[in-house]
Structure formats: structure tokens, C-alpha cells
């Protein structure tokens, strides 16, 4: 199974990815995560306007055989949520790094990104 790990973003140990644009951070889960979960049936995303804390669970992703927490890679306020995932959770399986994006956080502490993994390090983690 090809493990897609795009170079242009950062990763968490819990298999979330984060793509930075100034103070905004877009969050999703990795190809490895959706592979492990199988067909996604339901996603519970954090509420728009709510606050999230780094590496604290802020949502839930459910497949037929498993339920996993979604951890916030950085702290801040949720300013955008991908509501198409309500009716089309399969987008996370089909395009985890593109159309399967989950939410956008306005970072309260941008220095937190230094604790996240770079692509080669994350790849090493999942290969292990």
C-alpha cells in the first residue's frame, strides 16, 4: 500500500496533518489513518467558533469497525468547518489531503508547530 505523505505539510503522532497559511492552519487526517479505519461512515467535527487545544481530542471519526478521536494539532479558534463531510464522509477516504480536509484553526500560539513532525519523520513513524 502506497503511503502518501505530502512534503508540503506537517504531521502529528495521532495521524493528523496540518497545512499552514499565515496564522491559519488547515487540518485533516492522513492517508494512513483512513486506510486503517476503513470506510468512514461518520465524522463529528469541532464547532465553528469553538476553541481547541493542542493534542486534545476535538472530534470523532467513525468507520464500521472503529471509532477514533481527532486531535487538534495546534491550539486556537475554529474558523471554518468542512460541512460537506456530514453527507459525504467518504471524501476522507477518497481524498484525505484535498477534499477530505476537516477544519481550519486560527492559531493562538504558532510556535506550537515546532513540536510537529515533518513528512519524512511521519513516514518513518508509520513505516515502523
Amino acid at each position: 500500500m502506497l503511503n502518501v505523505v505530502p512534503e508540503d505539510r506537517l504531521y502529528t503522532k495521532e495521524h493528523e496533518w496540518i497545512s499552514i497559511d499565515g496564522k491559519k492552519a488547515k487540518v485533516g487526517v492522513t492517508d494512513h489513518a483512513e486506510e486503517q479505519l476503513g470506510d468512514i461512515v461518520y465524522i463529528e467535527l469541532p464547532k465553528k467558533g469553538g476553541n481547541v487545544k493542542q493534542m486534545t481530542p476535538c472530534g470523532v471519526i467513525e468507520s464500521v469497525k472503529a471509532v477514533s478521536e481527532i486531535y487538534a494539532p495546534v491550539s486556537g479558534t475554529v474558523i471554518e468547518v468542512n460541512s460537506t463531510l456530514n453527507d459525504h464522509p467518504e471524501k476522507v477516504n477518497q481524498d484525505p489531503y484535498g477534499e477530505g480536509w476537516m477544519f481550519v484553526v486560527e492559531m493562538s500560539n504558532p510556535s506550537e508547530v515546532s513540536s510537529l513532525l515533518k513528512a519524512p519523520d511521519y513516514l518513518g513513524l508509520v513505516k515502523a
Partner: protein
Amino acid sequence: MIGATPSEIKQMLSAIGIGAIDELFSDIPEEVKLKKGLKVPPAMSEQELRRSFSELAKKNLALADQTSFLGAGVYRHDIPSAVKALISRGEFATAYTPYQAEASQGTLQSIYEFQTLICKLVGMDVANASHYDGATSLAEAALMALDITGKENLLVSRAVHPHYRQVVGTYFHGRNLPIKETPLFEGLTSTEEVEAYLSKNPTAALLVQYPNFLGLLEPLEALASICKKHGTLLVVAVVEPVALGLLKPPGERGASIVAGEGQSLGIPPSFGGPHVGFIATTKEYMRRIPGRLVGQTLDSKGKLAYTLTLQAREQHIRREKATSNVCTNQSLCAVANAIYLSLLGKEGFKEVSAQCYHKAHYAFRQWTKTGALKPLFNAPFYHEFVLRTPIKASEFMNLMEKEKILSGYPLTQDYPEFGDAILLTVTEVNRREEIDCFTRKLEEAPRLTREGCLHG
């Protein structure tokens, strides 16, 4: 009931490569191996079992052998013969949990029908595949409310069945969760007290019973609106679902969750179990509901099929993060409910429900007219009502028992504030003669005769 013959046992031992069965248990420490047989009674044949269990059964007095006005959460209703005939079928009774959908469409479709029937009955969008009983359903519904609202507080009406209140208490044992009991006003949950409490305390849920334990019809809309104002969920326990053949269901009156007991729907009193609980709720809370859910889907050829769904929330997958620890539901009892409701159908169920109401009100009028028993409350009731006894409740009931009449449930222990009072229940199986006989006994109270009410 052993399958193997002695010669087959020898063959299997040799196939395994051992000499004696004992070798199969060599990994059990010697010091704990039993050296003698268990001290249990010697084996009994079918004939001996029938004799000895019949003797035990005869030491009990069945309800059919007396006149019973006893309800209080377990109700006598006529059960169509087809219910027992159908659930006795080995294909239903000896099947396992339908984890392998292709091998279990019978159970799955029956439970889907049960879920649907419950939804229609209580006025909700989603019902689960049943629970141990009404009391544990209510406790699970309370847990659900805590989970949904994130608030750590419960308000429970004093007019909820005493056993149900106690079970809720046990489920929250050691959790440091305040469970406040609301006082009653004239037998009903006091809306003033509820408003006063909720306005000062963020509360996950208000638990009420409808009709309540005292037989009265709680003001659901008023309670729902108070709850909504304060972000509290209204959880309604329906202990007598037959009432809903006549009365507007809680789902249409502002309840967020309904927890119920299905014993009235085709299950005999059974000395308390197995009965069957259920939880029903709105679409919004579907994923928070504990226990199993059967859903409709398609098979690989596009044919309609049924399967357990949303299992990821359950214990066998989610483990410590599961919505609940429940594994078993009360499947066969739930199927009995579905069969009962479909045999009665819309008209039959409405008729049973109406007959209970009319007979109970006739009884109420006749019995209070004698002056021997006095009503305690004014509010409308369904088929149960509380009357004050002229002498100590226990003495009164003893006297009536000698006349072969079970005169309801004494409230002295659970509701000492009502003094000497009894909760009387009348259902469609109580004939007018039985009611009239009791009336006569009350009239003759100073001069009670020795005849029972069955032949009176």
C-alpha cells in the same frame, strides 16, 4: 446432553494423542483441582424435574387463581396465544446475536420492526433494540443525557417508580453526581419546584414517568417547556406503554428521550423478569443511544437486507470509550413485543387501552362511593389510582387477601407521606364481576364473608 459415545471418546483421545481425558486438565494446578464431585443434588430425569418443579410452582399462588388489582409497574394483560407459539420457535429462541447478518435476517428484521413499532408508539424517530428492563433503560437514558449536555446533575421526580429511582441511583454510585428528587404537589411533579431548581442548577435531565407511579398524568408540555428554557433534557419513563393506545405519546409532547418497559406488550408478569426495556429518542441523538441498533441496508446484489449498525459505539469495538457496557439486549422479549403489537394492531391496541381506562374509572367510582376507601388526588389518571384505607394499609390488604383479593400495592414504605394508602390497578382482564365483588366487600367491610371474588 453429551454428544459423544464412549467409543467415540476413545477415538478422539487417540486422535489428539493422549491416553485419558484428565490429561487435558494437566495445566490446572493440582492444589485447586476438585478431588470429589460438587456437593449438588443428584442428577434428575425429566420426569423427576417435572414433579419437583410442579411442587415448587404449587407453593406459589398464581394471579389467575385470585382477583388481582395489583400493578405498580408490572401489568396483567391478556396475551394472544400466537405470541408464545411464535417466540417458542427454536429458530428465534436458540439463535445468537445477529452479528453475522446473512445468517440472521429473521432476528434482524423482527427487531427492526420492533424498533419501528416503538417509535410509532412513543412518537420518536429512533429506538434501540432493547435493554434489560425499564429501570436500567432509565438509568442508561440518564447517562445519555449527561453525555449529550455535558452537565453533571440529575433531577428525578418522586413519582417515578421507586425501583427505577433506586436503580438510577446505583448506576451513578460513587460518581459524585448530585441526584435531586423533586417533591410532588398533589401527586404530580411540582412544576414550581422544577423551575426553581433548574433556574439555579445546570442540570442534564429531568426524569419523570408517564403515567406516573401513582397513576396520574404528568403535565408533560409544561415540564418540557421549563426544561427547554434551562437547557435540560426531558427524559420520560413509560412503564405502562398500553396507556399510549389512548394517550398522546411523550415524543409529541417535548420529551427528548423516552425510556420504557415493554412487559405489558405480550410478556407475562414472570415474577419480575425477564422483561424488556427500550430507549427512544430524536434523530439528533441517534449516535448517542446505547445498545444495539438494527438498520436497513442492501446486500451485494442490491437486495434489501438488515444488519446491526453503528456498532462502532458498542463495547465490543469501542471498549472503554463505548456508549455503554451493554452486550445482551432482551431480543426475544422485544420480538414478543413486536408480535403482540402486530396481533392487536391499531384497533385492537386502542381497544385494550380504552378498556383499561374505562374499567379503572368504573372501579374508582364504585369503590369510592362506598366511603370505605377515599381518593387522595384529583388529577386525571389512566388505569391506576391511590386510595386511602380505613385501617392500617397492611391490615386492610390482609383482610382482602382472605377474600382472595389482591388489593393493589401498599404505599406506606415508599410514600410514607400519604399515610395508609394503596395503589390499585385495573386492566382489561378484570371483569366487572370482580370489580363489583370488591365493591360489595367494601360495603360489607364490618361483616366480611369468607367467599372469594372469583365465584361471587
